[in-house]
Every structure is written in C-alpha cells, then in structure tokens.
C-alpha cells in the first residue's frame, strides 16, 4: 500500500497552485521559527540598537553633519542611516539561515521531495522581507522614543519605508547566493566582515565629503548611501549630500540600485541552487 504524493496536474494553473501552497508552507515554517525564538529576533535587533545609542550619544555629540556645529541635528541625520544600515546588514541573516539549512541537510531533504524546490529560496525571501518589516517597525518605535521625527507626509514616510524594504529585498538574493556558496554556518558568520564595510562606508553615519576623497567616492556610490539619502529627503531630515550623481539623484538611485543587485544576484542564486547537484 504505497501512497503517491499528489502530482499537480500538468496544467500551468495546477502547478502554480501547488507552488503557492509550498511557498505558504515554508513561510509558515519561518514564522513558527520567529514565534519560537523571540530571543534570536531580539538579538538580531540588538546590534542596530547598540549602534544607535553609541553613535547618537557617544560619537554624535562630536559630529557636525549640518555645518551648524557639533551634535546639532545628529539624531535626525543618523536615524535614517540606522534604518538603511539595518537593511544592509540583513543579508547576513539570510545567508546564515540558508547556510544552516544546507549544512543541516534540510535543503537536501526538500530537494528529494516532490515539492517546488524554489520554495526554499522564495519562501526564505518572503519570510525575510516580512522579518525586515518587523525590524523596521521596532526601530521606528525606538527612534520615536529618542526624539526622532519624520517631517514628511504620511505617504512620504510610508514611501521611505518601502524604499528601505526594496533594498532589503534585493540584498536577500545576495544572502541566498552567499549562503549557498559558503562551506557552512561557521563561514556564514564571517560574512559580517563584508557586511560591516558595506554598511559603514556610506552616508549612514557620516557624510561622504567628510571622508578622504577616494573613500568618500566609494561611500557616495554605495547603494546603502543612496537609500539613506533618499529616505532622509522623504523624512525631511538633514541630507548633507555631495555633488556626485547618486547623491544628487538619491531617490532615483535608491530605486535603481536594488534592480541592478537583483539582476546580478538572482540569476547567480538560482544557478547556484540548481548546481547543488554537481
């Protein structure tokens, strides 16, 4: 008495239905994780919170970002940067989760099952995006608590958060690709060495023109800077933008960068996933 897994009828609609079913199941699994491990979630938020306190209260008093004197308006400048940085660092969480699923054999198990194997990747993506939205919301509340305000309209504010998630969404593909590339969870932990300069060599805490020339140029063109500057504009926070193209057209750059990142890393991630059988 053997039981067959029901095969979706070969119609497009049938396959789509089961594919969505699989995505939903995997996203549900991710939520159970979140629910079961609230502590992990808090740890993940711990880093940006510590950074906020450090920069705003320790270094911030010495920073003159608006040209009006040290410490002036630094909270208004740094908070959007903090949002952008949290999104930028997020890909390490994705990479870590993917590396763990691979190392623990979970990916193999799923690949030997009749389900849509893309569910591992797409489910991860959906879950991480939702995860990031929760991160942002908590940070938003903390920002309000330390006196940060958005001067933009409701829609501008909402748009700023959408732009943040847009960056995070694109970086998920980077995370998936890296997670499949690294040898295991231990190596995935080292990815922070990439995330750190990626997040910090940007306009997140310091305007690029306060940096040495070459570093400032890198920072100005960093996708994270584009997002940070764009949301500063939308929030009506101090901008301190230089003369480079992405700083002058921050909103455009913040929309385009994630497209470029996705165009490069989505195919890489898919190919890497397909080649797991090598």
């Amino acid at each position: 008495m053997n039981t067959l897994a029901p095969l979706p009828d070969e119609t497009l609609a049938g396959r789509l239905k089961w594919t969505l079913h699989d995505y939903r199941t995997i996203v549900g699994q991710e939520f159970t994780h979140l629910w079961r491990q609230p502590v992990n979630f808090l740890w993940a938020l711990g880093f940006p919170i510590v950074m906020v306190l450090l920069f705003v209260y320790v270094f911030g008093s010495a920073m003159d970002v608006t040209g009006e004197g040290a410490g002036v308006d630094y909270v208004a400048y740094a908070m959007p940067g903090m949002f952008a940085m949290t999104m930028a660092f997020g890909f390490t969480n994705t990479a870590w989760a993917v590396a763990e699923a691979k190392e623990k054999g979970f990916v193999d198990r799923v690949r030997s099952m009749p389900m849509a194997s893309s569910a591992v990747v797409v489910g991860r993506n959906i879950a991480d995006t939702i995860h990031a939205a929760i991160d942002l919301f908590v940070l938003f509340l903390i920002a309000l608590a330390i006196g940060w305000r958005s001067d933009g309209t409701f829609w501008e504010t909402l748009g700023a958060f959408a732009i943040l998630l847009w960056l995070r969404f694109a970086l998920i593909w980077v995370g998936v690709w890296l997670g499949l590339m690294v040898k295991g969870v231990e190596q995935a932990g080292n990815l922070f060495a990439i995330a750190f300069p990626f997040g910090m060599v940007s306009s997140v805490f310091t305007p690029p023109e306060l940096m040495p020339g070459w570093l400032g140029a890198i920072a100005a063109w960093n996708p994270v800077s584009a997002t940070a500057t764009a949301i500063r504009e939308l929030f009506g926070n101090p901008v301190a933008a230089g003369n480079s193209w992405p700083e002058q057209h921050a909103l455009m750059a913040a929309l385009i960068w994630p497209v470029i990142i996705t165009a490069i890393f989505l195919p890489l991630a898919v190919r890497r996933f397909r080649n797991l059988g090598r």
């Binding site: 053997n2 039981t3 029901p6 095969l7 159970t32 623990k104 054999g105 193999d108 198990r109």
Partner: protein, 318 residues
C-alpha cells in the same frame, strides 16, 4: 511476479581526482530490502544521493520506481523517501510540527498530515516528546524523527543512509521493525550500513561496494557460504597443551589446522560439525585434559566482509 524497482547500470561519478563511483551496478526487487555494505569512502552515500536525484552522475543510467532518474526526476521524487546520512530535521520546530510540515510538503491535507504525524510519533516512540523542540532531543531521538519524516508517504522506494548509526538497541529495533513493516507492505528499501548484524537481519540481498565498484551481490546466507565451512575451535586452559590439542583437532579437520598462540586456541574447518565436535570432546576427555572452551564457530558476516574487503585491498596494492 517480481518487478525491479531500483536498477542502476554502470554508474560513474568523479570528484576532481577521486572516482567516487566507478561503474557501479545495483538492482532491487519490489518489496525487498537491499543493503549497501562497504567501508568508509566506498561510495555508499554517493549512490544514495544519485538515486534520490540529489546528485548528477557522469556515466551510466538508473531507474527508480520505473522512472529514469535523470529525465523524470519529479516522478521519481513523488515515489521515494530519503533519510540522509545527516539528520535533517528542523530543530526549532517540535517533533509534531516537523512531521506536519513535511506532510504538507508532500501535499497531504492539513487533517491528513496531522493524523499521519500522530501515527508516526507512536510508531517511533516519540509520543511523549511530540510537543518538544527537536533541538533538545538526543541524537537517537532526532534520528527517529528523521526516519519518521521519510516514511510519511509509505513511499514506493525508501532510501536510508546509515539509518541506525548512533541509535541504542531499542531504537535500532524500532527502525528494523518499521523497515520490515514497510517492506512487507511492498516498499522497496535501499539502506547503507556498517553493521553486519543489521544487514544480516534486515536485508534480502547485500551489495558489497568498495572504491565505487561492486565486489559481491548476494544474499546474507550466500555471503556466509562463501566463507566456507564451520570451524571447530578449542581454547586451551593451559597453553602447554596447545600441541596436544593441535593433534586432536587435526585428526577431525577438513583442511589446515591453525594455532593462535595469543588466544591459546586451535581451530580448523570441519565437514561434519557435530561428529567432529563429539570426537574431539571425547579425545580431550580420554587424554585427561582440561580446556577453557570447545565449540563450533559459524563464519559471521563480519568475517565474510573483512575477507572480501581485505582481498580487494591486497589487489589494490599490487
């Protein structure tokens, strides 16, 4: 009528400079248990990963449950279950949540997935731990959960890579019962193992593999038969008696008599085991000797295995 549900011909798989599989053949009939037996690095896991569509191969072809693994991977996946060498459960979830999750991914309805989870929790002795996170499970409990997950569908072909490694005796027994039960219901089981008693007990056929090649493919009884006759063995109480005992054993032997000084024992193959034993025992008594032990030793699968592997290693060195 017997049907072949797993058939692989001339499988080859190279990793850079090692040939993991080098022209390997296997075949298993419906409802039977096939054991893959071989030392570390022989190519067992590679074989399982190829047959479960996880790994591409370089040469040869294979069908599982009637479908070509390269061309019809999706059809194959609907009909197989896999427990890999590594335990692959979601440790954050509870045992029950794991089984329901995999049931859902096998596309059972929610109600059916829950019902099946309950059955499997009972069958694998996980009832009491059902609602605890798998993270806190012992290695054996995780392994049992892992096995349960691969049996959700009562698959047509079940692949188990070292299913009982790390299990305690009662855990092994549960696994053996589950495997025998599935086979009795028509599931073909392909399992790898290092335990010869397990292969002896569970498998209808054993394929011995080394360096990615077939050494032997036989029934457990057939493998033992290759080892030849039963042996009569006498263990001396006093090593000084070894020479006399050698004479006694040689008198009834059907082949060369061997003395093992370290174990203070003398042994030889015998043709009529019971007659030889009686004759030797009588001779020992007549000469007024005391011995530590006297008895018949059947060749074990361990010996058959070591002998086979030893032979190829010698060949390899030449």
């Amino acid at each position: 009528m017997t049907t072949t549900t797993v058939e692989a011909v001339n499988l080859g798989k190279r990793y850079k400079d090692t040939a993991a599989l080098d022209g390997f053949d296997i075949s298993a009939q419906a409802g039977t248990v096939l054991g893959l037996l071989g030392p570390n690095g022989a190519g067992k896991t590679t074989t399982v990963r190829i047959l479960t569509t996880l790994l591409r191969f370089d040469t040869g072809s294979a069908t599982v449950a009637g479908f070509d693994i390269a061309r019809d991977a999706r059809q194959v996946r609907r009909r197989i279950g896999l427990t890999g060498q590594q335990t692959a459960v979601d440790e954050v979830l509870t045992a029950r949540q794991n089984l329901v999750l995999f049931g859902r991914l096998f596309r059972l309805t929610k109600a059916r997935a829950r019902e099946r989870a309950d059955q499997l929790l009972d069958q694998f002795g996980l009832r009491d731990a059902a609602d605890r996170q798998a993270k806190g499970f012992s290695g054996g409990m995780k392994r049992r959960l892992d096995l349960a997950a691969s049996m959700i569908l009562a698959p047509q072909v079940l692949f188990l890579d070292e299913p009982t490694t790390g299990l305690d005796p009662s855990g092994r027994r549960e696994v053996w019962d589950a495997v025998s039960g599935l086979a009795a219901d028509g599931t073909t089981v392909v399992l790898t193992t290092h335990y010869l008693d397990e292969a002896d007990r569970l498998c209808d056929r054993i394929a011995v593999i080394d360096h990615g090649r077939n050494l032997v493919d036989d029934t457990p009884a057939g493998l033992k038969r290759r080892m030849g006759a039963d042996r009569l063995e006498i263990v001396a109480a006093d090593p000084a008696d070894l020479a006399v005992l050698h004479g006694i054993v040689a008198a009834v032997a059907d082949g060369e008599t061997a003395t093992d000084e370290g174990a203070s024992s003398v042994s030889a193959p015998v043709k009529e085991p019971v007659a030889a034993l009686t004759a030797a025992a009588t001779a020992v008594r007549d000469q007024g000797l005391t011995v530590a032990d006297i008895g018949l030793r059947r060749p074990t699968l361990d010996e058959a295995f070591l002998e086979l592997i030893g032979t190829t290693q010698k060949e390899g060195q030449q």
